[in-house]
């Protein structure tokens, strides 16, 4: 039967605007029990999670201003990350009481959803113990950072599809010495974003027992 879930593809949207939509969806979930998933891309923005350290920003804030890159402190776990066009950002607004009220189990399920998605495209992805996210050997393809209020999740997952990887040189992603990769680097056939989204939606449906309405 599944948990009812609304799905919205927001296209290219400002980070703060997407955050406001998440807050509205949290209220909607509290009132109706209906979960939401937002899919989107953001203009170039750097976000700092609750555990972020300043030294993980590798360029000056003046440089960011000149480049028109926003720097935003956000209420999610994790360190620093970057969003840009070509990166599919997924914001599940889920009631974690449906999934056992277990933060690490939820992170694990998010990882699994992305691993399963990549499997559709013959990309073998995996976890690395102690480094939450999705990896292709030693290169990171998806980052995860969530916030939870009253056991409702927000923020989520950022999957590199055909993002300009050189942008990550502005930061030390997630505070680690890590090489980033993207789906287009691993697929000789090129990326079809609509196909990726459709398969992603299907993976979420399966992993989280969703009933899209």
């Amino acid at each position: 039967m599944g948990y009812k879930c609304c799905l919205q593809d927001l296209g290219l949207i400002d980070y703060r605007q997407a955050y406001l939509l998440q807050r509205q969806a949290i209220g909607h979930l509290k009132d109706t029990g209906i979960q939401s998933i937002f899919l989107c891309e953001h203009p170039v923005v750097i976000t700092l999670g609750r555990m972020a350290r300043k030294e993980n920003l590798l360029v000056s804030e003046e440089h960011l201003k000149v480049k028109g890159v926003d720097l935003i402190h956000v209420n999610r776990g994790g360190d620093i990350t970057l969003h840009a066009p070509g990166q599919l950002v997924i914001y599940p607004i889920f009631n974690l009481t449906y999934y056992g009220k277990d933060l690490h189990k939820y992170l694990h399920k998010l990882e699994q959803t992305i691993i399963d998605l990549l499997g559709y495209f013959d990309i073998v992805a995996d976890r690395i113990y102690g480094k939450t996210g999705v990896w292709i050997r030693d290169a990171k393809i998806a980052s995860i950072g969530i916030g939870v209020k009253h056991w409702i999740s927000f923020h989520g997952v950022a999957l590199n599809v055909d993002i300009d990887i050189s942008l990550f040189f502005m930061i030390k992603p997630c505070g680690m010495e890590v090489r980033m990769t993207a789906m287009n680097k691993l697929m000789s056939s090129g990326v079809d974003k609509q196909d990726i989204k459709e398969k992603l939606i299907s993976c979420f449906e399966r992993e989280f027992d969703l009933n899209y309405i």
Binding site: G49, R50, M51, N75, R76, G77, G78, G100, K101, D102, L103, H104, K105, Y106, L107, T132, G133, I144, G145, I146, G147, V148, K149, H150
Partner: protein
Amino acid sequence: MEHELKLPELGEGIEKAIVACWHVKEGDEVNQGDEIVEVVTDKASFGVPCPCSGILKKIMVHEGGEIRVGGVLANIGAGESII
């Protein structure tokens, strides 16, 4: 009467967290259910709700400090208010 704000269970195998951010300070009025402090475990930030309305008397674990599940984050003077 004093109430303790404790770190609740966060999931199987999760024994501790780091205090990331207090949203109030000692002496502030707090309301039952308000998430007055965030803790972080792995890539998750979790808002801990206040167990009662009153005054935040004493923060026991400050930002950056580690707290075990069941540990006391703060003491709250239940039913008190600022005149």
